[in-house]
Amino acid sequence: MNHLEPIFFYAFSLIAVLGSAIVVANKRPVYGVLALTVTMLALSALFVLLKAYFVAVIQVLIYAGAILVLFLFVIMLLGMAAVETSQRQRETKKEALFLETIRILKILLPIAFFTELIILTLAAKDAGIGTRNLVGTVEAIGQALFTDYLLPFELVSGILLIGIFGIVTLTQKEEELSLRGGPNGPTK
């Protein structure tokens, strides 16, 4: 099994990288979401390689299944407008110079960040193969979850609850506005 591992690793990480590149580079968000699903699956394969089976399953079920589906719904809701119209509004000459530098910066920064990470990881001395006998089975995770990490577990449920409240109030605000004409007249 272990002689096949490098091949699987390179394959899946390549797929993941390409998928995310497509997400970032394409024009239409729908393709973005699909590319992201592909990346998610590749990542869960990597998790399997790392013997984190439970996390891999959750990744596929929740992340790919629920969140990305949510994305699709929203894109459908927004319709054509979602296509990026990238005409540039006129800027004053002085501002242009400033924004130009910011744009260049936006490209340079991730690259700079990436190179630093590479230097750091290469510099790390004891980067040998781990003992690799850790297996992320359901009962191991379940046991850890409900003993050592009980408090964070409860807190996460709290955060999810807050998320729900947030969405309800946001959407609530939106309907109420349309009923009584809203601050700046009926919404279009």
Binding site: K51, F54, E84, I111, L117, D148, L170
Partner: protein
């Protein structure tokens, strides 16, 4: 495979996600790129978990997924409202906070 490999891939993914957040002019794509960055983080968590033989890394990645879920939900709700107000998804237009 060694820990470094996994860290390098998660670094690449994170960089691409960052580029997406900074460079793209569409809120949805920005949210997607944020998801990529979060996944990159997850990958490195799990890689370290297996490397350090400590389950903590995997449990944390679970939590990250949970939080990412609520974050995306709210992010999309805001995107929808912004779209209703501004009529566009381009973050450049949204400069009410201009100093």
């Amino acid at each position: 495979m060694t820990l470094n490999h996994y860290l390098i891939t998660s670094g690449i993914l994170f960089a691409i996600g960052a580029f997406g957040v900074l460079g793209r002019r569409n809120v949805i794509i920005i949210l997607l790129s944020i998801e990529i960055m979060l996944n990159a983080a997850n990958l490195s968590f799990v890689a370290f978990a297996s490397h350090l033989n400590d389950l903590g890394g995997q449990v944390i990645s679970l939590f990250v997924i949970a939080i990412a879920a609520s974050e995306v939900a709210i992010g999309l709700a805001i995107a929808v409202i912004l779209f209703r107000e501004q009529g566009t998804l381009d973050p450049e237009k949204m400069n009410l906070m201009k100093g």
